[in-house]
């Protein structure tokens, strides 16, 4: 019986990574290694103002004093930070006209299914496409500008809206926050900037697509989203990388500021190359994402489907500062083969009557390890905070592991905090029941997983829900049990 389950698992989780191709485009890179000179060079290439160079250097100097965190349930090999290229840019003309974009780049994003030409973008989603260290193209910028919405690459924001960037950069994730945040703050290259002015409901979904292409390169992007009073925006990030035998480092920062009565929905479809079946290669995904609900009744929603990366270390968090503010976190994290994930969320309740909700669904297959690590904190002065957490784990096969590490720090007795956790297996009984109704094993697993992750998939923007669902099924293809 064990043997049989093993076979089924093989069958359902064995599929290939679809985005593993490399784009043949001339790339401008700097040499490997990290020092102040490199940081000055990155800053100079981007023609940055002095204060930003200072920010980077301070971060770098602080990083030198720090040690890599080892508390996660991850087996992270030693990383040689001098063996990484910190800046790589596909060569292209300064002009950001569509006609001027390198056809190879166009073809790449076409292949990835990312609509970069506005004529083609029937879906009505504005996209910022980032390859390696730079933004290739941002669509619908003008349409958005009519409403006062700023959506552009981070570098452009530094050039055109320096005051806004300076005001918010590092305000939610200071460079001292953690090891990878410090590293990112020192060497970040590009990313997206979103600013929704007061009272504006962003008329379309915004999305950034991150692609690592160059060899030996780390990607260090930064995303900054600001929603002023009564504003609304739904934002989605997607990511893929070529299939390579070596590991590549991705250390990003996302900062989100949500003011009074504003709402931000941040969705992620993370599909970095996870390494091969033997665990060779793949992206190290060490990311700091945090938002602050600054004003009263602000709302921040995280929704994520995570199937990629060799190692994931990531805890999108919300600081609930404004009274009555609300945050929700919905996550499906899949690990297969030798993937490792230590991921979860933090909800920090500061304002009165703040509410948070956490729904985390882990799916582990193969030899993978999948941990949920979440923290709910209610500070002493916070009255009537409420939190509900649900952490479920689903195991496929008997070689993988699922772990739950919930931390509750409740300092005020008026808080109401609930935590539920379950662990289940896709049983032979369930599969046979489906078979007996004419459903093949592979479809049975798809059906069961869809049911299991439904609460989260429903929270993804409509356009991506179907894709996310497919991604789940593909990631587990060949691995049913």
């Amino acid at each position: 019986m064990a043997k049989e389950q093993e076979n089924i698992i093989q069958e359902v989780t064995g599929s290939e990574y679809k985005y593993g191709f490399v784009t043949n485009v001339e790339t401008e890179t700097i040499g490997k290694g990290l020092n102040e000179e490199v940081i000055r060079m990155i800053s100079a290439k981007k023609e940055e103002p002095e204060w930003l160079l200072e920010f980077r250097l301070n971060a770098y100097r602080h990083w030198l004093t720090m040690k890599m965190p080892r508390w996660a349930k991850l087996d992270i090999p030693e990383i040689d930070y001098q063996d990484i290229v910190y800046y790589a840019a596909p060569k292209q003309k300064e002009s950001k006209q569509w006609e001027d974009v390198d056809p190879e780049l166009k073809a790449t994003f076409d292949k990835l299914g990312i609509p970069l030409s506005e004529q083609m973008a029937l879906s009505g989603i504005a996209v910022d496409a980032v390859m390696d260290s730079v933004s290739v193209k941002t669509t619908f910028k003008d349409t958005l500008a009519e409403r006062g919405v700023i959506f552009c690459s981070f570098s452009e924001a530094v050039r055109n809206h320096p005051d806004l960037v300076r005001k918010y950069l590092g305000s939610v994730v200071p460079y001292r926050d953690n090891y990878f945040a410090a590293l990112n703050s020192a060497v970040f290259s590009d990313g997206s900037f979103v600013y929704i002015p007061k009272g504006v409901r962003c008329p379309m979904e915004l999305s950034t697509y991150f692609r690592i292409n160059a060899r030996n390169t780390g990607q260090f992007e930064r995303t900054l989203i600001v929603a002023e009073d009564d504003a609304y925006v739904s934002y989605l990030e997607g990511c893929t990388a070529p299939q390579r035998d070596e590991n590549q480092l991705h250390a990003a920062i996302v900062e989100i500021v949500v003011e009074k009565n504003a709402e931000v929905k941040y969705s992620t479809v993370q599909n970095w190359y996870p390494g091969d079946k033997e665990g060779k290669g793949g992206i190290y995904n060490f990311v700091t994402k945090r938002g602050i609900c600054r004003g009263e009744n602000a709302k921040l929603i995280w929704a994520q489907v995570e199937t990629g990366s060799a190692i994931t270390w990531k805890y999108p968090s919300t600081i609930l500062k404004g009274d009555g503010s609300v945050s929700e976190f919905y996550s499906v994290a899949v690990t297969n083969n030798y993937q490792q994930a230590d991921t979860g969320t933090k909800m920090i309740h500061i304002g009165n009557n703040t509410r948070s909700r956490i729904v985390s669904k882990g799916i582990s297959a193969g030899y993978s390890s999948n941990s949920y690590r979440g923290k709910v904190k209610v500070v002493k002065t916070c009255r009537n905070a409420r939190n509900y957490s649900q952490c479920d784990s689903l195991l496929l096969g008997d070689k993988c592991g699922a772990h739950t590490f919930p931390y509750l720090e409740i300092e005020n007795s008026t808080a109401q905090v609930e935590h539920e956790a379950t662990t289940s297996k896709i049983g032979e009984d369930q599969i046979f029941y489906c078979n007996q109704r004419g459903i093949s094993t592979e479809d049975a697993v798809g059906l069961i997983i869809k049911g299991y992750a439904g609460d989260v998939l429903n929270k993804m923007p409509m356009e991506f829900a179907v894709e996310a669902q497919k991604l789940l099924q593909i990631s587990l293809e060949g691995s049913v049990g």
Binding site: Y433, Q436, L447
Partner: protein
Amino acid sequence: MLKIKNLHAAVDGKEILKGINLEIREGEVHAIMGPNGAGKSTLSSVLTGRERFEVTEGEIEFNGKDLLQLPAEDRAREGIFMSFQYPVEIPGVSTVNFLKTAVNEIRKYRGQPPFPAGDFLKMIRQKMELVGIDNKLLNRSLNEGFSGGEKKKNEIFQMAVLEPKLAILDETDSGLDIDALRIVANGVNKLKRPDNATIVITHYQRLLDYIVPDVVHVLYDGRIVKTAGKELVAELEEKGYDWIKEEVGR
């Protein structure tokens, strides 16, 4: 329709079925009765293709096809349906969605296009009325939090939707009170047609008061030791299984 010849089957190396011979024709209802441990559930598992049951000898022919060569899902697609003794729960998947997947996979196997959504729902509504099942139940997660009676009713409803050629009711009466039993039996009777057949596997008489069999078999120690008409049911109810054991001489 179904021909079983000298069927031997084992679980974990232990022989449970020791030479079953059985023939079922269209339009017939067969009851398979027997004491606990006789091999009743093994027989239904072997027929439906559960992998951990190993067929060591014999053959099964279903509408001219060698059933033992087909994986479980293809047997279902060929028209074999089992009402489970213990239906499983699938959280987050409604009965309606589950059945839609099943129906369309079966149609695909038969070279038919998927059911148009509107027609499917219309068909579901008809079957709902036929079996007398509540709409609310069908939109909840499959079997999750269902009572014993609701689960069995849901099995019969699925049977109504999938329209099998051969239905196997595996201990469908277990855990049902008399009202639920009557509803379930009623559903089965309504689904009876001249071109389909039913196997009722049970320990007790009571289900057979409502679903009247044409042929009754007694399964004992892996063999069919007695075959007779429906009058056998009453005799078994009155005298128990011991006299059969004595007759067989064990």
